[in-house]
Assembly symmetry: C2
């Protein structure tokens, strides 16, 4: 297995900053073979959580929302931004309750991912919550109006195929949840 | 089903631009309920493709690479940036051949997604290629040194669980490919 040396950041300059939303850094990087590349960008955005919450009836808790980055209404998993220094699991539990009124005692991580392998663009923490139950009305305080829907996972996977799930992190979380729930045993390879 | 009105962009200003890599717009938006929000950012990045290429032996073509946005080596699906006005499928076929030397005659889309539902951060097109076969050596011209690996899908799903796949789009594509290849029939809900 090759030894991959890290790229070395020779210099870094903040070229745009609007805290806490967006900071763009312009890096000069030195590759392992000695080449120097500039500019190479690093975009800092706030980390976020995405949650696939499954009810005891095997339905997933889904939000239908208009989102400005998507420019139309689509199906989203519940999710949200981490508060500063907030633990990702606690953020997921908080956001699920705020956004949907659902809670669960059975949480497991589905992974920690970087949205853009070149420029980073924040990071996302994905969780599965089993036996989720609604104990309150949604009270997110979010800017978006939200329709709450319960949907069987197979139907939801079909909605991805139909282009109704545009959020990359929602699609990833739904498909990762499906793999976890099946134990990927349906895959014959 | 509620009628979700789009947010209205009242004004838009480019606050940082380094074409063709990054452009940051600061929007003033009007919500459907009349509230005005500013700033709300839109980050334009180049669109990219990600490909899950499956061999006739039911192995997935994987790249192990150091990526600057991830800051360590990890398992990635082949992928790359679209050229201006390039058709996503043609870009996927071109990038697969350049990056891995593999080709396929059996391509199907797994979806078109937005990496960040608030700020957009580009868009990604994910494809599945079946019966992929290697006809050439890799010749990507990419900055990254790459180790090419063939890995059964079930093992690869396990590598996601072990944190060895950090790219969100790679993880999404692997899990979406698994759902497509099983027909999600293993999911009992």
């Amino acid at each position: 297995m090759p030894d991959f040396k890290p790229w070395k950041v020779v210099s870094s300059q903040v070229v745009y900053s609007a805290p806490p939303y967006v900071t763009v850094h312009s890096h000069t990087v030195e590759l392992p073979d000695g080449r120097t590349i500039a500019p190479y960008f690093r975009i800092d955005l706030r980390p976020f959580v995405v949650m696939a919450a499954l009810t005891s009836e095997n339905e997933i808790v889904i939000c239908r929302q208009y989102r400005h980055g998507i420019e139309h209404a689509s199906l989203m998993l519940p999710g949200g931004l981490l508060e500063p220094q907030e633990d990702p699991l606690l953020a997921a539990q908080r956001e699920l309750r705020e956004e949907t009124g659902f809670v669960s005692n059975e949480w497991e991580p589905l992974g920690h991912f970087v949205p853009n392998s070149n420029y980073r663009c924040g990071e996302t923490f994905i969780f599965l919550a089993r036996n989720a139950r609604q104990v309150a009305q949604p009270e997110s305080g979010d800017l978006e109006e939200t329709e709450l829907i319960l949907m069987p996972l197979t139907i939801l996977l079909g909605e991805i195929d139909k282009g109704q799930v545009v959020s990359l992190s929602s699609a990833a979380a739904i498909a990762l949840a499906a793999a976890r729930l099946t134990g990927a045993t349906g895959v014959k390879c």
